[in-house]
Symmetry: C2
Subunit: 333 residues, 2 copies
């Protein structure tokens, strides 16, 4: 569990895209994002107050979150200077970088000396159990996709936002490093050892109030041969009551797999539902979430209407149109 | 890769069942099993020549394989004495125990001093790639089951034996620790990090001659919620041309999951085939392998005949009846 609120470290980000972790925190947990720290030459701006480390501590920030990708897979000396100063100032550090903070001898030494924590969210920090499949109380929604990186996290976060706005009981359950940094907690599922994948998802989504919803961030796709095993662990470990089908029109092939076509939404529905019902016979598909980021407003609405007619399910771009209809469908179960 | 041939260490096995790894090697790779080493009080006997370490070295043994489970999860001092003497005598050690040999300071020190290898086959020793899904040359068979521990490894080994007897090109591909110790090579799939599972299976079953068959040891079950993600990685990473459905009649529930019933063979066929065709559209189900270990001869034959009529597929207990009909069906593809 990462202490909040955060100071977002944007470093020397060459552009806005490089700071997408910071953007995610800014968009989805603005209450955690008290300020930003930018180095000389930084081309990203979250529109937050620029703070020195001392100002951020005075404002109550507890963790410096690395919200930017590093260049060339190296944590540079110019970053190090800031990170070490932050530890000395009393911040914990949190990172989703491939290079682990803990593997940098200088950072590790200063963290030890100052008693601060280094959170490398790509690495599991818990000894997860093997899944036992026992039925748990409370409700669970899982977003499944026709492909990877198609909008599953955003769909779950949009639903989380809508449910919070309604005062409904809901918890976004992060299963990837961006989601973990956004919420401060979760399971880095792609880094879990095979035998414990489904168990880590059970651990992440425990017994809860009967009217509480866990909104589980999906990973991969049942139809993506590189990562389908990870998706399967979510379907069986998550015991979803509700599935939402995520899709982005216009992709020419599965991400990273030029020889593989995306499945139809019908194929995804049938496969995901059949598998989900092994763990929860009551599971239903409640709607479709379409990623229309590359479409005009009119085209987005028309496409969603078309899919709605085709699938007979509420269909929206939850980021563009809001998740109200998806939440309505979930609560109607 | 573990050097062969082996001296099988039976230790102080309390009974034959405790030595099932040794039994597997004895049954499936008798040419590797030159002798056995038994300590005082050992109740297991593989029917091999009892050898001292010196005799075994003289006979050409290169690796002492721990063919027995340890009691209480501890490598005892009485075992240690033999293992250290073996290293000093020039043996490598190989083990599938949960306690790793490398984590025992005395064994690690002696191995280092003598230049011998400690093979802990539960732990991956390779940096596996992420699966790329590219179609590979050669043929692949995968055994899939209605449950865990239902006979998938034995089915693949029986087919391997039959194909070797016919002079056909085939390689058993081990994916679990017993299989790895039997053949000296493989991937400990349940210990691989999630993102690399399917890639490790691709790595294990590379391009090969068009008429060569990889006989892939299955793991778990698509219907077993604890391990289904591992099975999924085999189905997609393995790109099987042929699936064989494995089943044992009479189980009251899924192994370790009292609330879960076994799926029908039809459900397994439909699910496994639909998923396998994502990676290989030409995949077919060629037969059923029934584990009839608890049945009389007559009952076993009658049950196989019943399943054969029901499924319209060649159906045998390959351990009891031989795998000839399954191999015929594979070669007829």
């Amino acid at each position: 569990m990462i202490d909040t609120p955060y100071l977002l470290f944007l470093g020397d980000a060459p552009d806005k895209l490089a700071a997408k972790v910071a953007q995610g925190i800014r968009d989805w947990r603005p209450e955690y994002a008290l300020g930003q720290f930018r180095m000389e030459g930084c081309k990203a701006d979250m529109g937050l107050t620029d703070m020195t480390l001392a100002e951020a501590r005075a404002a109550g920030c507890k963790t410096l979150v690395i919200g930017v990708a590093n260049r060339g897979g190296v944590i540079s000396q110019s970053w190090k200077k800031v990170l070490i100063a932050a530890l000395e100032e009393g911040f914990d550090l949190a990172s989703g970088l491939h290079n682990l903070l803990r593997n940098e001898p200088d950072l590790a030494a200063v963290a030890k000396a100052t008693g601060r924590k280094l959170h490398d969210v790509r690495v599991p920090s818990v000894a997860y159990p093997i899944a036992n499949g026992v039925k748990r109380t409370g409700k669970r929604m899982l977003a499944v996709g026709t492909d990877c990186s198609i909008g599953k996290m955003y769909t779950a976060l949009c639903i989380d936002k809508e449910m919070r706005a309604r005062g409904a009981k809901a918890t976004f359950r992060a299963t990837g490093q961006t989601g973990i940094l956004i919420t401060g907690d979760g399971v880095p599922l792609d880094a879990v050892v095979a035998d414990f994948m489904a168990g880590s998802v059970e651990w992440l989504t425990p017994d809860n109030d009967p009217d509480h919803w866990d909104l589980i961030e999906g990973q991969g796709s049942l139809f993506h041969v590189s990562y389908s095993g990870v998706t399967m662990a979510l379907v069986h470990g998550g015991q979803p009551d509700a599935l939402i089908l995520c899709h982005e029109p216009g992709r020419e092939h599965m991400r990273g797999l030029p020889d593989y076509q995306l499945p139809s939404l019908e194929a995804l529905r049938d496969m995901a539902l059949a598998l989900a019902r092994v763990a929860n016979p009551a599971c239903v598909v409640v709607g479709c979430a379409i990623n229309t980021q590359k479409m005009t407003d009119d085209a987005a609405l028309a496409y969603c209407a078309e899919i709605e007619a085709q699938m007979g399910l509420p269909t929206v771009d939850p980021f563009r149109h809001g998740a109200a209809r998806l939440v309505d469908a979930m609560l109607a179960i």
